[in-house]
């Protein structure tokens, strides 16, 4: 039961560069556009989730899609994450391309079993593709407490069979979501909710998809590399500005995809700067920072002029109270401290 779209690869455009016509677009609108365009392009694409129809979703990402595509393609579900995730797997196996929206990334945990034990365990055994996208608003900074602020990408990146994407710009949000929808694997797509209505940036007006598994240098530099992704990209760029004032040239590498990881660009950047800081919002231990550090230690050891440093959230749940949350989240000053520390080497 393979459909035309099953075989359509994501187009290249690794760095989204070149001189293209673009439009300033909000992060959230870039996501809505990707959904709209892919649903127009491929009749097999449909969405399930809670309150995504008339209400337009908890964050209004699907606003207007019900009107355009009708209730058979924008399907409201009861509160039943495990069930509608399993249903997406079933529909995907029958040749559809379901997109699942979770109201918050915190509620994707409720579908853990279907994602990890079902969606991610099919192709390996039978070679049957499970093309589905699981979208979830993640991230902290909005005083939303322990149950509406989590960044669980590390857990999912640890599951062979899943691809995990965390875009940091509107350009990549749209391009990577399109690529995810066209991909033949289960893809977990985290949208940092802090960026939804706060980050605006250029988005190509033509049809494009970004390459899953390709990082992107968001700022060129020569002295230190900050490897980051998601909303922390903004923190990294702010720190890079500050460091520039001190005469330190910081390169910012945006991973964009957590799994598969772009080893080559990570190593290329460290070969250039000799110094690496991992900056991420997920908790510290056994996470993405550890993985990137291991890659550098194993394959880029001779490039290093100093220790690999991690700036991350601590190993704790995310607290509600403003002073606690500010302490919890990595801040520009924390990155500056790491940059200063590396200056000694």
């Amino acid at each position: 039961m393979s459909t035309p779209s099953n075989r359509m690869p994501a187009s290249g455009n690794v760095n989204g560069g070149g001189r293209r016509e673009t439009k300033e677009t909000l992060f959230i609108d870039a996501i809505t556009e990707a959904l709209r365009e892919e649903m127009q392009r491929d009749p097999n694409v449909f969405m399930v989730g809670e309150d995504i129809g008339t209400y337009g979703g908890a964050f209004k990402v699907t606003k207007g899609l019900l009107e355009q595509f009708g209730p058979e393609r924008i399907i409201d579900m009861p509160v039943a994450e495990e069930a509608f995730t399993g249903m997406a797997v079933g529909a995907a196996l029958m040749g559809m391309r379901p997109i699942v929206e979770y109201q918050y990334a915190d509620f994707i945990h409720c579908a853990w079993d279907q994602i990890v034990n079902v969606a991610a365990r099919i192709h390996y055994r039978t070679r049957d593709a499970v093309p589905m996208v699981m979208r979830a608003p993640s991230g902290a900074g909005l005083r939303a407490g322990p149950f509406h602020s989590q960044s669980p990408e590390g857990w999912f990146a640890h599951v062979p069979g899943l691809k995990v994407i965390v875009p940091g710009t509107p350009w990549d949000a749209k391009g990577l979501l399109k690529a995810a929808i066209r991909d033949n694997n289960p893809v977990v797509f985290f949208e940092h909710k802090y960026l939804y209505r706060r980050l605006k940036g250029p988005v190509p007006v033509d049809d494009y998809a970004c390459h899953i598994g390709a990082a992107k240098v968001q700022r060129q530099g020569t002295d230190v590399t900050i490897v980051t992704y998601g909303a922390m990209l903004q923190t990294a760029l702010a720190a890079a500005d500050k460091a520039q004032e001190k005469g330190i040239s910081v390169e910012v590498l945006d991973l964009r995809t957590i799994y598969p990881l772009d080893k080559i660009q990570i190593l290329q950047s460290i070969a250039k700067t000799g110094k690496a800081i991992m900056l991420y919002e997920d908790t510290r231990t056994l996470g993405i920072g550890a993985e990137v550090s291991a890659i550098i230690a194993e394959e880029g050891f001779e490039y290093l002029d100093g220790p690999i440093l991690r700036v991350s959230s601590p190993d704790a749940p995310i607290p509600y109270s403003p002073p606690l949350e500010d302490y919890f989240l990595p801040q520009v000053d924390d990155v500056m401290a790491a940059i200063d520390k590396l200056s000694a080497y």
Partner: protein
Amino acid sequence: MQVKPLELGTKELMDIYYLMRLGRAIEDRLNLLYKGGKLPGAIYLGTGQEAIEIGASYALEEGDVLAPTHRDMMSQLPRGITPREVFLQHYARANSLTHGKGEDNYQGDLRRGTFATVSMLPNFYPVAAGAALAFKLRKEPRVAMAYCGEGATSVGDWHEALNVASVHNLPVVFVVINNGYAYSTPVYKEMKVANVADRAVAYAMPGVIVDGNDVVECYREAKKAVERARDGGGPTLIEAKTMRMRGHAGHDSATYVAKDIIDLWTKRDPIVRFEAYLNEKGFLNEDSKKEVIDRINAMVEDAVTFAEASPYPEPKEAIEDVYAE
């Protein structure tokens, strides 16, 4: 253990009236504070649900435990949670029950028999069953009660909890507040059964429907279920039919709810209805009503002032208490 009678006397009825009025006053103030940008986080209000929120948990005795969900702040008032504690929690202060770590209604105090629950629905249904299991194993005459909305009954955990509670004949009472909507989703898009209570058949337990705006009925049916559980009779499912009178959360103006539905349910306001009942019985008059309301207003005022004057936690507390000693 059993102290409260099935048919309530003046003292208890006036106590319930006070708690309902207190719940309404706290929520009205939270709403104002939220709209005025005074609270860091969100609010989930149960306005219009006072009868079931307070009527059912009032049936618990000392030593029993309660597991509410996101909208059930008021259910904790009969357990002794105070207005100061409610506002401290919303203001995220160091001296709140969750030490500034938990948000909005996810607070509680085990010592007073009420859990600090979580947002994932209805994760405390199994936990309540587990508390009941502990009571059963230790042969203690104690009861657990869990609340959730009808939306949460679509989740597998809900069904699993009812099933295991039934199989193990646990002393637990499951209360479902059917308020018409799960966020923006109306009941007819959540389930095909006419009543949540109909699902009790699948777990061989009594399924009771109560008028969720009649506090006397809410109390009486909860009381029967609590004592049945205490006497070894096993779990009961209670469905309270009511209406969510505000948006899902503070940001939601609930334009998806028809105005005439709200108008209809406004006429059924559980507090106004209870006042008429108390009036008729001769327990309440304009003077005693004013006395209650004045007392409550002063308490709410004090609670807000106290919360605003209370300190935030020290930043480094963010990484403390992840593990027990």
